[in-house]
């Protein structure tokens, strides 16, 4: 079976390909943007496309223009697979099969793609959170240093001041620390 994966995000496409490595026989081709000549030459049985790919509408257009395509492309998810279309779009993928393919094997392949898309989303969210946690820790350290210098207090007391400010304003210690640093900059004459 020939599978074409259209995904503008190469890292995510690699993750999907790795997930499908076990599936045999499968001829998988990845592309970040659709090329019609390539598509016609490769003759995929199944096309999986990321919902955030601008090529989705091009594929929908090809499905209409059957004269350009000897093998019509149809929407994979049909009435026999209730709920699968919704599941796929939630995961961020859409799938098209080329007429004549038995949908039986498609479901398992699509499920791998869906779970890999979700995994990528999770990895990206975790990474963003880790980066912001790190930035917040650095900010708190700098704000503590500033308080220790300006108020002539020890590290523990500086942190207690920040925590009290945070509690009084109902915000996080990181947010209060960031405010403190930026206000200090303004008072010192930095451009806001």
């Amino acid at each position: 079976m020939r599978l074409l994966l259209v995904d503008p995000d190469p890292a995510r496409a690699a993750l999907v390909a790795e997930g499908l490595a076990e599936v045999r026989p499968l001829d998988l081709r990845r592309t970040s943007s659709l090329d019609e000549k390539e598509l016609l030459a490769f003759k995929p049985d199944l096309i999986i496309v990321a919902c955030d790919s601008p090529d989705r509408d091009t594929l929908e257009g090809l499905r209409e223009a059957t004269h350009a395509n000897p093998r019509p492309i149809v929407m994979f998810v049909d009435r026999s697979e209730p709920g699968l279309a919704e599941e796929a779009v939630r995961a961020g993928v859409a799938a098209y099969i080329v007429d004549g393919l038995q949908p039986g094997r498609v479901r398992s392949i699509l499920e791998v793609a869906m779970s890999r898309f979700q995994l990528m989303q999770q990895l990206r969210t975790d990474l963003a959170k880790a980066q912001s946690d790190l930035a917040s820790r650095k900010t708190v350290e700098r704000a503590k240093g500033l308080l220790m210098k300006e108020r002539q207090v020890g590290e523990e007391e500086a942190y207690a001041i920040l925590r009290k400010l945070a509690m009084n304003s109902g915000r996080s210690v990181g947010a209060v620390a960031a405010d403190l640093l930026s206000f200090h900059g303004v008072l010192r004459g930095d451009k806001p």
Binding site: D52, P54, R56, D57, G61, A94
Partner: protein, 388 residues
């Protein structure tokens, strides 16, 4: 209580009512906490509406109807309780094709197409944004008026608006029909020549709608009305010529269109071919507009000839629009349908509290459309897939 809603849009000037309602706090004033999500594909907007990820979206009017008929996807219960705009779309050609055409009429294109095919070269390629769109129907109508069969004598491909600019630069396509501001972008970046504006093809004709899931609208009637009130107020603001500059700057920002404000401003305000959002009954989802769209689906073989017209027409829901418009005191046309293309000059539309002043609405070829004779109209064209 605040209700959270997710609405989708594509980066086009006619998404203005959604963007204005969000940015100017009109949703918030109705107790709605709206997140706007920019999408790059109409198919994804349709699918996210169907899956309930979006409660509403900026949508091609013809795509709302096609989804309902199950054309191009499994049937999706979508409705259009409001129209978002008229005008903005434009047909344009590359500088090279313009030089091969005599004049800017469809006959000039027909001769250029014939010469190319006669020399055994590849056919002229046009791009539109979606098979079910006013852009596609406008292009097909226009080329067919010169005896060109849009499926045989030229090629029509589908590409997203930003992709059209790229493909024109690379020479992959010779022409396009695309919404504002991307036609102006093709002019500015690739020297393309605009040869027919939607406002010249059919003044006041349909384009984008607010697409909503029918079951959501039935379940959340209060939220549906609140959303419509906010969008109708936003449309009135977006229509006012004095707000054109501010609107262009707002739309231009990276979160929305991410395009030069000067190009956006060209089709706003009182520009002759400019977009209409509210005036002249634009926000009403006219059943006669849905009927015309359905006639083109029949004409080009997208809808089965036995499809009951009511199935398509019921997608447009003027009743929902009327309730919201009356709430905020907008002038209301008395009817839900009108004779289309019947006026070659200014005319007066019966309305409440008084008549509404309208300008000409004649098609570029002068052929009128009677919404009660959809099949005869579709079968009456020289080039059509529908036989009587």
């Amino acid at each position: 209580m605040t209700l959270s809603l997710d609405l989708g849009f594509v980066a086009l000037t006619d998404a203005a009512p959604l963007i204005v309602a969000r940015a100017r706090g009109l949703f918030a004033a109705e107790g709605l906490d709206v997140s706007l999500h920019r999408e790059v594909s109409w198919a994804t907007i349709r699918d996210k509406l169907a899956a309930g990820l979006f409660q509403g979206a900026h949508l091609l009017g013809p795509l709302a109807i096609a989804a309902r008929l199950g054309a191009g996807s499994e049937p999706v219960g979508l409705i259009a309780p409001m129209s978002l705009n008229a005008h903005g779309a434009a047909i344009g050609v590359s500088a090279q094709l313009a030089s091969q055409m005599e004049g800017t009429g469809p006959l000039g294109l027909a001769r250029a197409a014939a010469r190319r095919l006669g020399r055994g070269e590849a056919p002229i390629v046009f791009a539109t944004v979606f098979p079910y769109s006013m852009h596609s129907y406008m292009l097909r109508y226009w080329v067919a008026s010169a005896g060109l069969d849009p499926d045989r004598d030229i090629r029509i491909v589908t590409a997203p608006p930003t992709g059209i600019v790229e493909r024109l630069s690379s020479g992959e396509i010779d022409g396009f029909c695309v919404g504002a501001p991307w036609g102006a972008m093709c002019e500015a970046q690739c020297g393309a020549r605009i040869i027919l504006e939607a406002a010249e093809f059919w003044p006041g004709g349909p384009d984008k709608v607010l697409g909503v899931s029918e079951s959501w609208a039935a379940r959340e009637q209060a939220a549906m009305q609140a959303m419509l009130r906010a969008l109708l107020r936003a449309s009135v603001w977006a229509d006012a010529p004095e707000n054109a500059g501010e609107l262009a700057s707002l739309l231009a920002t990276p979160d929305y269109l991410s395009a030069p404000p000067g190009l956006i401003a060209k089709r706003l305000g009182e520009a002759e071919n400019g977009l209409r959002f509210s005036r002249q009954g634009t926000s009403l989802p006219w059943r006669s507009h849905a009927a015309w769209i359905f006639s083109q689906m029949l004409r080009w073989g997208q809808a089965d000839r036995d499809t009951a017209p009511a199935l398509a027409l019921d997608c447009y829901r003027p009743d929902l629009f009327r309730a919201a418009a009356a709430d905020i005191g907008l002038a209301l046309p008395l009817a839900d349908s009108k004779a289309e293309g019947a006026h070659d000059g200014d005319w007066s539309l019966p309305g409440s509290p008084g008549p509404i002043a309208m300008s000409r609405d004649a098609f570029f070829d002068g052929a009128p459309f009677d919404p009660d004779s959809v099949r005869d109209y579709a079968a009456g064209f020289a080039i059509t897939r529908l036989t009587r």
